[in-house]
Structure formats: C-alpha cells, structure tokens
C-alpha cells in the first residue's frame, strides 16, 4: 500500500532519490518490509523504478518535467543564438556557438540610430491591432453562423471561405495592387489622394481577409461546442441572438477567442508579403516592422547583428505582451465579463 502523502506533494518531482525512512511519516508500519528492501541494497535508480511502478503518477510528473525542459531548450536555443549574433560586433560574424564573437551590446541602441525602428514597431502594432479587431468581429459573426445555425449551403460556404488560403499571396498581388492604387473619390477625405496605398488600410484590409479564415474556423469550432441550453437561457432572459453571442458564447469560448486573437495579431505583426509590397517601406507611411528589419540589409552587406537585435526587440516584448494579454482576455472573458 502506498503512502498517501506521495500523491499530494506537488513538489515531488519524483526524480530525486529519497531516504526511504523519510517516506514513513507513520513511524514505519512496514518495518519488516523496509528491512528486506535495505538488504536487497537497491540503488537509487532501482528504488526509483520500484517506486514508479508502485506509483505511476511519479512517472508522469517526471516525464512532464523532462518534456517541459526539452521544449524550453529547443524553442529557446535559437533565440539564445540570435542574441549571440546580436552581441557580436559588425563584421566579426564567425564561428559563433555559445558565445558571441566579441561583445557589443551597443547593437541594441544602434538599431534605433540607424533607422527609426520604434516607428516601424509602432506601425506594425497598430496594424496588427486593427486587423485583429476586424478579424475578431467579422469572424465572430461568421463563426456564430457556421457553428450554431443550420442553413442551406453551410458546408460549401465554409469551404469557400478557405479558398483564399489555397492561393499563394503572390497570386493576388496584381489585382490588389491595382485596386489599392486606384483612386476612389470617397476616400479622398481620408487618405488625401483617394488611394489606399501607403495607408494602414492597404495592409489592414488584405491582412484581415487573409487571416480571417483561420479565425472563422477556430471560432466556429469553439462556438459550436457551447451547449444550446446556455444560449437558450440567455435568450429567454432577454438577449437577442447577437446579445447571447456577446454575453454568453464568446465569454465561454474565451480560450478559443483569445487564441484566434493571438494568432491573428502575431501573424499580422510578422506578415511578409503584403507588408512588403503594400507600402513604400517608409516608416511615416505605415511601413511595418518587416520593412524595418529589411532596412538593415544593404546591396552587398547585411548588418546581421542589427537585424538580430532588431528582431529580439521587435519580438520579445510583443510575445510577452500577447501572452499576458491572452491570460487577461481569458480570465476577463470568463470571469465577470458582464460586470457593468
């Protein structure tokens, strides 16, 4: 019979050999059995194996830590290496393994001196935020329709949504390039010359459309899993269908909504193709971070250390922000979202 304390100790990683006498808070009811164990003189490993068989939870816990550390190492090592590249002074980029070739933390400042990198970041941030907002709103409506309503043509329409994702973005380029450079009189008050080129709309529009199918599918999946009873209750209580979506379904799908938001935000933040072609690359013209990073690249030389530093600056704060925001979103949507 096993010791109940073993199960409740969250700090027990199961991988450190322990003094067997310490495991008997009851004063060693099984003295005899222990004596035999001692005679067998098992090594810590065997002891651990024996304990593990008795108590598989320990193995899961140990496996869990191994997995966590493995994942941490594999995801973080390239970043570490990127940091080493960033710290290596210009032109000494050779044989970097675990330490930089020289030490030049100035790169992190230089990044902003060479070009106004913060403006690119800001642009990207705004564009990503706007696109995410558009995507979440539009995809929520569509996801609700696909996930919770029965109507003719549901499956075909859903597949139609996907079609945009079948095409390499380059395929859209020529018509979209024309479109965004066409002057529309009704846009003149907003953009000056009536075209969308060089405005945030030139990015927000296509990027929203491109990342919308993913959000629609995520939200469809999550919305469809909310029991009908809850929506029914909300509607009887006096919400419209949309109200029920807003007050019950979205909050209950918080993990899905937040994930759709995070995926969209980051995807837009880092998008390559349209970011590159739909602005002229000028920070004042809403060029995104991608143009900023590429700006460290010359015809015959590439400022790798600056690109690396810029990437770290561009990515890490955003990732942290996004994760924290996501946690807030999830807890905010699920707890007291309706506190008015």
């Amino acid at each position: 019979m096993s010791d109940p304390n073993e199960h409740t100790d969250p700090n027990d990683t199961g991988d450190r050999p322990r003094d067997p006498t310490l495991r008997r808070p009851d004063g060693g009811r099984n003295v005899l059995k222990e004596g035999r164990d001692a005679e067998l003189d098992r090594g810590p490993l065997q002891q651990w194996a024996a304990n593990s068989i008795e108590n598989p939870e320990r193995v899961y816990r140990a496996l869990f830590y191994v997995a966590a550390i493995f994942f941490l190492f594999t995801t973080l090592f390239p970043f570490y290496w990127l940091l080493m590249v960033a710290l290596t002074p210009e032109g000494q980029l050779q044989d970097i393994v675990f330490t930089p070739n020289g030490f030049n933390p100035g790169a992190f400042i230089e990044v902003f001196e060479v070009i106004p990198f913060h403006i690119y970041m800001f642009n990207s941030f705004i564009i990503a935020l706007a696109s995410t907002a558009v995507v979440l709103v539009v995809a929520s409506l569509a996801g609700y329709a696909f996930g919770r309503l029965e109507f003719p043509g549901r499956t075909p329409l859903m597949l139609l949504v996907l079609i945009i994702s079948f095409f390499p973005p380059a395929a859209f380029f020529i018509p979209l390039n024309d479109l965004f450079n066409t002057s529309f009189f009704f846009l003149e008050p907003i953009t000056g010359d009536g075209t969308l080129y060089n405005t945030p709309f030139a990015l927000v529009t296509p990027l929203s459309a491109i990342f919308m199918p993913l959000a629609i599918f995520i939200l469809t999946t999550f919305y469809s899993q909310i029991p009908d009873g809850l929506e029914d209750a909300a509607r009887v209580e006096g919400t419209t269908r949309l109200g029920a979506l807003l007050r019950v379904i979205i909050p209950l799908s918080a993990p899905g909504v937040a994930t759709a938001g995070v995926l969209t935000f980051i995807a837009v933040y880092n998008e390559f193709f349209f970011s590159f072609l739909m602005t002229d690359g000028q920070p004042q013209n809403w060029a995104p971070i991608l143009d900023g990073i590429l700006a460290y690249q010359g015809q015959y030389e590439v400022l790798y250390h600056l690109m690396a530093a810029a990437s770290i600056i561009g990515v890490i704060p955003v990732a942290i922000l996004v994760v924290i925001a996501q946690e807030k979103i999830v807890s905010g949507l699920t707890a007291g979202a309706l506190k008015e």
């Binding site: 050779q94 060089n198 072609l277 002229d280 590429l294 700006a295 015959y300 030389e301």
Partner: protein
C-alpha cells in the same frame, strides 16, 4: 494620413547609402547642393524614398509601383541588370526625346559605354535611363602575402596574371601565411553568379552566353553558346579551385577556393578576406574602399581585374578572352506616371554634370559613369579607390555587361542554377551546359513566337 511631397519635390528611390549623401547638415557638401550648383532650379528638392537594398526586392518595389501606374516615386533608381525589361514595357520615359541635346551628347560621348547599353531601348537604342554610377568587378589580393611567397605582383594591376599563375600564387601564399582561405568569390545560386562572377570567368576563357558581346541586348535571333568548350573549361577550372584533383576539373589548377563559396554571396566572401584570413577575393569597388583604407590593409591591398584564361586573340567569340570586369551599377529612370516629369528631367540633367558626378564619387565612393573623372578626383576625398585609378580604367575597358534583355531575369535564373549545380558537381559541366542551352533556346524562342 495626409502625405505626399510638396509640389516641387521630386521623389526618388534609393538605398540608404545613396540617401546618406543627398542631403547634409548645415554647410557640409551634399549632392542636393551640387545639383543646385549644377543649375538645378533652386525650388526643386529631391526627396529620397529609401528602399530595401537587396536588388531583387528593389525590383519588386519598382515593379509594384510601375505596374500600378503609381507615382511618386518620380525617379526610380534601377539596377543596370534589370533596367531594360522596364524600358521594353514602356514604363520609362524616353530620355533621348526629353533631355536637351547637349546633355545627351555629353552622356553618349563620355559615359562608360557598357553601362549606357544597359539603359538603352534595345531596338531603337534610345536612352531611357541615366547611369548614376557603374560598378565593376575586381580581384583583390594581398600583395604582402604574395610577395612573401615569392611572387612579384607589381605588374598585376593592369596586366592581370593567367589563372594558372594566379592559382599557384594564391595557393603558395596561403600555405606560407598559414591562412584558412585562398581565393574567395561568389558562387551561390543567385543573380551575382550569372551576371558577374561566372560571366567574368567565362569571358576570360573566351566563352559567352550568346556568342559574343554584340548579341547581348537583342533577344531572339542569336546563337546560344553556353555549351561551347570555353564555357565548359571555365567551369572545370572553377571546379579545380573548389575541389582540387577530382572529376571534371582542369589539370594544373591548384585548389584555392573554399567549398562554401557555392553558397556565398558578396558579404560572406568578403568577410574572411577583410578579416585577413584569405589571400584574394573577387568583389566590387566598395570592397576596395573598405579593405584599402589605411586602418585596413592600406598599401598591402592589390587590385586587378579578372585573371586571364585565354588571350583575347585566341578567344572564340567577339569581345571575349583576356581579362574582364563584370559590370554592375545603377541607372536613374523617370517614371512616365509622374506629375513632375519636367522637374524630374531637370534633376537627371543636373546629375549628368561632372561636378555632381564627382560629388557623388567623393561623398559616397560611387564610381562616376564618366570614368575619366576618377583620375580627377582628389584622393583625399575619395579614399583608396583613387589609388587604383588605372585599374578602374582597365576594368572599364574590359567591362562585360550581362545580356540584360527583358528575358534576362528568366535566363539568369536558368544560368545560375546550372552553373551552381555544375560547380557543386551535382551535374557534369557538359551535361549541365547542354541542358542549359536547351532551356535558353526555349526561352529565346518565346520571343519569336510571341512576336515580341
């Protein structure tokens, strides 16, 4: 959201390097000032739109704007390698019609012919772009190491050695000096291989893509000669450099190139040389400025053009053999969609003045399209390049442009893939070049069938 330049501002695309010299703080000399001094209307200001500096990306940006009929930019800075396709698509202003005759004749008479060719309409020979600066391929080497190894390089500058001699010298010098690398060059599968490094080697062996220099700019009805012996030999020599004694190599050529060159471009090949870890390097004029500075190798830097495979006389095709220097460089092209075409043309006109060219050279180290001016420039302002004026002159004499027709980008991809795979030994040189010849033939034939 309101944007757009003032009415007298001409927007020009440029990389950050050029941008840095257009305007200046206070009284410092600047290109803008030089332009005004050269007679540009004082109201007209240039505004630079920086673009990503890698050539392919810049082409995409230009293409995006011009396909959409968008201006500004009013002036596009175009690589000499891909100006012609835009010209052929009527996306440039015909300067022959628009510039004053005086300027035109100055340009036609004094500018480096090879670069002018890259800015002309292939059929009418009208000028559609004004070269801003040419660039030329050089072979950089360490005189000190070579001399230590017992080679006399004093005549190399204007009288490049034979490849064989060069290889032996480099090889010996590397051993002598205990360096990691001998000769570093660019052989990655990219435009730089087809336009330049391979073009140079091939030319030095008397080979050519399309049967000599006369057929460079007229696609369609021209011979395809990439499967001829000189081309094969050039590849085999490079394989000797890379692999040493091995299949498909040429006897008697030492192994001097590190094998990674097959994935190297300019920067990666320059790094070891710059770090003092290589004997020789093939690169552009900016590399001279970088490594010839006093803080760097100073006088120990030797510069020449491409070593010689076969003498000019023995070359199979016109204009090949002997030494060669691949031609790069950038042209200025006026957008036909510009609202400020007149102003833009004025700017171009001013750029064609000698003072401006010199200013550009002095401030940025960009070679003037009129290479005679190199000698006139004050060495103090220009830096190390001035020291090698004679080499620059020799290079310009032997400049070999790429066959930059509208088909060139397509053909270039075919060429660099084949050459790279032959370098790597993935294909035998003969097989690779035969396949390439077929592919090029098909590409060329499109011109006839489509009646372009």
């Amino acid at each position: 959201l309101g944007r757009g330049p003032g009415s007298n501002t001409v927007v020009m695309t440029a990389d950050s390097g050029v941008e840095g010299i257009i305007h200046s703080e206070g009284d410092q000399p600047s290109v803008q000032q030089a332009l005004w001094d050269a007679g540009l209307d004082e109201d007209i200001r240039i505004e630079i739109q920086t673009v990503v500096s890698d050539s392919a990306s810049r082409m995409q940006t230009a293409q995006a704007a011009l396909e959409a009929g968008r201006a500004p930019p009013d002036i596009h800075m175009m690589d000499s390698g891909w100006t012609v396709p835009f010209v052929l698509r009527n996306q440039t202003v015909n300067l022959t019609e628009e510039l004053p005759g005086e300027t035109l004749s100055y340009v036609n008479e004094n500018y480096l012919d090879a670069i002018l060719e890259t800015a002309r309409h292939p059929e009418s020979s009208d000028l559609h772009g004004l070269p801003l600066f040419p660039d030329l391929g050089f072979t950089l080497y360490r005189e000190d190491y070579l001399e230590d190894a017992g080679y006399d390089t004093s005549s190399w500058a204007t009288d490049p050695p034979q490849w064989e001699e060069f290889a032996n010298a480099v090889s010996d010098a590397r051993e002598q000096a205990g360096l990691d690398y001998g000769y570093t060059t660019q052989a990655a599968a990219y435009e730089g291989l087809s336009c330049c490094t391979f073009n140079e080697v091939m030319t030095s062996w008397g080979g050519a893509y399309f049967g000599g220099v006369n057929n460079l700019f007229t696609a369609g009805d021209r011979p395809i000669t990439v499967d001829e012996q000189p081309v094969i030999d050039a590849i085999r020599m490079m394989r000797s450099f890379i692999e040493g004694e091995n299949q498909n190599t040429l006897d008697g050529y030492a192994q001097i190139c590190p094998s990674p060159i097959i994935q190297w471009t300019e920067q990666q090949s320059l790094s070891p040389f710059d770090a003092g870890n290589a004997v020789a390097n093939r690169n552009w004029s900016f590399a001279i400025a970088q490594t010839g500075a006093e803080e760097a190798f100073g006088e120990n830097l030797g510069v020449t053009t491409c070593p010689i495979g076969v003498p000019e006389e023995e070359a199979e095709f016109d204009g090949t053999g002997g030494t060669a220097a691949a031609l790069g460089g950038w042209n200025l092209v006026v957008s036909p969609f510009s609202d400020r075409k007149e102003e833009a043309l004025q700017v171009l006109e001013a750029f064609a003045s000698e003072e401006v060219m010199l200013t550009v050279f002095e401030l940025g180290g960009y070679l003037p399209p009129n290479l005679d001016l190199v000698a006139e420039a004050s060495p103090d302002d220009v830096g190390p390049v001035a020291r090698y004026g004679d080499v620059v002159q020799a290079a310009s004499d032997n400049a070999i442009p790429r066959p930059a027709t509208d088909l060139w980008p397509e053909q270039s991809a075919l060429v660099y893939q084949s050459v790279n795979s032959a370098y790597r030994g993935a294909k035998a040189p003969e097989a690779a070049m035969n396949d390439l010849a077929q592919e090029l033939e098909q590409s060329e034939s499109e011109v006839q069938t489509n009646g372009n």
